[in-house]
């Protein structure tokens, strides 16, 4: 009989290298989910110690104190206290501290000692401390704290050996807490003066980099170049990979089409599943490249610097410098963006960030943009720029500008002159660790592929079904889809969307687009594929729409997608994160109104100019 697994929780300040340690301990054996009821990410993993003992590791969100000021910190507090419903209290706390930042981190350790849980201390990033000449007398620190102290270098192979050995041995005794009301800071100072010698308070390299990176002029220039490079990379690097996925999907569809007998099943597999899923998986490279950059910037410590540079400007628009990270993630997908907003402590700033996050052009909108731009915008140069590229840039800029305006209007409506806090730590610069980046990317890829395999697969099948049944009556002359349920729904919706120039095919595509925006393109593909009649056999989507839609309709659809209110997953995340149906209703309402208004203006103006 095997004994029950030892449940440990990693707990520590933000930027103590906790997640790197978690990765080092558990490798790829991790499960990422959410805590019940809140969208704080819950990371759990397991490993076996050399003795064969199973150890289950929970990576708690970083916190400065048990007096929580954000949902993240509240989760850490509640799990440590054993108050979090559905989450067993850990058997042992592993406090992780950055060996170069003990003045701050040890205070939290002393606070945690009051919890009455067995605990041990991990001095992480010992290599960095050594390089800076920081000397720590582990025996003295251990004596002073009354808990076992081990040293780790989470980014080094075998860097967590001492910790594993400690976990494999005797359970440490309960720590003796300091009396209530004791001055924790004074106690930290006492510990530091007896056990630690620090030649310099800061790393010279950090000071030198910050002098350039936070410089009022150079700093902003570097940030601009960096952002520009990221977007260039997302579009140009991903191109070849996306092309090959496209070719692969077309080949698979063709091969399956030839191998399968004519009939409904073939239509389902080729038109429904392969065309539908292929149209979505194609965006995986772009999502991964964007997240690669975000992870690199995050790991290196640059992102808080960007927040520092932009804070004043974002405050002017009713946001905060901290909004930068959630909004940048929203360019990949609004869902992780909205979730990243939980690191904003101020509830009003968090709400404003959540509400405007969907205005950042997520990668799921790219297929729509790419399709319409290729079909309608001539490929010509304007000065040194390419017109198609300029239009794409304009669509992104329209989203950002709208977000600033919306945030500003919300600030004005609230008539809120009370204080919002920033209090942002700028951690030391670090070289990103490739293994941690790889694990982060793998997480993103698996979340996306899971979505493709479940939700999007189901929708593709559903849409095929709606577009195929009921079958046309005998002797029908039009395309089969005209007689189907989808055709009926599309024609029923069409009058409402006529003022903005949408035809019934677009109306149909908007429905599955509710579940995932990117499906709108594959839905158009399916709809037009099934619309093909004998006289007009459908080829690929682009030439069809280029010949059948007016320029006004195409531009109107582009404008619609800048606001694109139809993403149920984002709206559901907003409801959970923003705290209720009301916030979700506001988000849905304002996005829909803006989308309709922008499309209406675009359509009518273009119509007037082109007729």
């Amino acid at each position: 009989m095997s004994e029950a697994a030892l449940r440990i929780a990693l707990v520590g300040n933000p930027n103590c290298g906790k997640t790197a340690l978690f990765n080092r301990l558990t490798g790829s054996r991790q499960k990422v989910a959410n805590y019940a009821g809140v969208t704080v990410e819950r990371k759990e993993g397991r490993f076996a110690a050399p003795s064969g003992r199973h150890i289950q590791v929970l990576d708690l969100p970083g916190a400065y104190s048990l007096a929580a000021t954000s949902p993240d910190e509240a989760v850490t507090r509640d799990v440590c206290l054993g108050r979090f419903e559905g989450e067993a209290r850990p058997d042992l706390l592993v406090c992780v501290v950055d060996a170069t930042n003990l003045r701050l981190h040890l205070r939290f350790v002393l606070e945690l000692q009051r919890l009455g849980l067995p605990m041990l201390l991990t001095l992480n990033m010992c290599d960095a401390a050594e390089r800076r000449g920081i000397r720590i007398d582990v025996a003295k620190l251990q004596e002073g704290l009354g808990i076992p102290v081990v040293q780790t270098v989470a980014v080094r192979r075998n860097g967590a050996e001492a910790l594993v050995k400690q976990l494999d041995g005797q359970m440490p005794p309960l720590p003796a807490p300091l009396p209530e009301g004791a001055d924790l800071h004074a106690e930290v100072s006492r510990l530091l003066s007896s056990a630690v010698s620090v030649p310099e308070r800061t790393a010279r390299i950090d000071d030198a980099i910050d002098r350039v990176v936070l410089h009022p002029v150079f700093g902003l220039a570097i940030l601009t170049v960096l952002m520009f490079t990221i977007f260039q990379a997302v579009f140009s690097w991903a191109g070849p990979i996306m092309d090959s996925i496209d070719v692969g999907a077309a080949w698979l569809g063709g091969a399956l089409g030839e191998a399968m007998p004519e009939g409904l099943l073939k239509s389902l597999v080729v038109d429904g599943i392969v065309a539908g899923l292929g149209g979505v998986i194609i965006f995986l490279p772009q999502i991964l490249i964007l997240f690669l950059f975000i992870l690199l910037l995050e790991e290196s410590g640059y992102l808080p610097r960007a927040a520092f540079l932009l804070d004043r400007m974002m405050v002017g628009a009713g946001l905060t410098g901290r909004s930068f990270i959630p909004l940048l993630s929203s360019f990949a997908c609004a869902i992780p963006g909205v979730m990243a907003a939980r690191t904003i402590q101020d509830p009003r700033d968090r709400l404003a960030t959540i509400l405007v996050a969907p205005l950042m052009t997520c990668s799921a909108r790219l297929p729509v943009y790419a399709l319409l731009i290729a079909a309608f915008i001539p490929e010509q140069s304007v000065g040194i720029f390419n017109l198609q590229g300029l239009v794409l840039f304009g669509l992104y800029a329209a989203g950002i500008l709208s977000a600033l305006i919306v945030a500003y209007v919300m600030k004005w409506l609230r008539r809120d002159h009370s204080e919002h806090s920033l209090l942002l730590e700028l951690p030391s610069y670090r070289l990103p660790n490739p293994a941690d980046i790889a694990i982060g990317l793998w997480e993103r890829a698996s979340i996306f592929l899971k979505r493709v395999g479940t939700l999007i697969l189901a929708l593709s099948i559903l849409l095929w079904f709606l577009s195929t049944f009921p079958a046309p009556p005998a002797g029908a002359t039009g395309a089969a889809i005209d007689y189907s349920l989808a055709g009926m729904i599309g024609k029923w919706m069409q009058p409402f969307f006529a003022p903005i120039g949408f035809n019934w095919q677009i109306c149909i595509a908007l429905i599955p687009g509710l579940a995932a925006r990117e499906v709108a393109v594959s839905a158009l593909g399916t709809v037009y594929a099934l619309s093909a009649t004998v006289e007009d056999p459908g080829t690929t989507l682009m030439p069809i729409i280029a010949s059948q839609w007016s320029l006004a309709t195409a531009l109107s659809l582009l404008a619609w997608y800048v606001y694109a209110p139809q993403c149920l997953a984002t709206l559901a995340t907003i409801r959970r994160e923003g705290g209720g149906w009301r916030v979700m209703a506001i988000a849905t309402g304002y996005l829909f109104a803006l989308a309709y208004l922008a499309s209406f203006i675009t359509y009518q103006v273009t119509l007037a100019l082109t007729s």
């Binding site: 400065y64 104190s65 007096a67 000021t69 170069t100 930042n101 003990l102 003045r103 701050l104 205070r107 800071h185 620090v198 308070r201 800061t202 950090d206 000071d207 910050d210 002098r211 936070l214 009022p216 002029v217 700093g219 902003l220 808080p304 927040a307 520092f308 540079l309 804070d311 004043r312 400007m313 405050v315 410098g321 204080e419 919002h420 806090s421 920033l422 209090l423 942002l424 730590e425 700028l426 951690p427």
Partner: protein
């Protein structure tokens, strides 16, 4: 004087953090982060617009504070080292 008035790169020592309201959560958090009497403190950079936020070195850590936050922290100039 307050931390928000402290010129850049001037060594100073924290005197205390004032609550602007009862149980001011920002003041509580500032104290937790190490803004306590006797700690050496220094402003090392300022944001590009409106000289805000301030980059403050406290303990071994750097924090970005807005002026209103920094105004809660009273400081005195560090005595010149011999």
């Amino acid at each position: 004087m307050t931390l928000s008035e402290l010129p850049r790169n001037t060594p100073a020592v924290v005197v205390g953090v004032q609550d602007v309201s009862a149980g001011d959560p920002i003041a509580v958090r500032l104290r937790e982060l190490g803004f306590v009497a006797g700690e050496p403190v220094r402003v090392t950079a300022q944001g590009p617009a409106g000289r805000e936020p301030l980059l403050v070195q406290i303990g071994y850590t750097r924090f970005a504070l807005r002026r209103a936050e920094a105004a809660r922290v009273s400081v005195k100039l560090a005595e010149a080292q011999a």
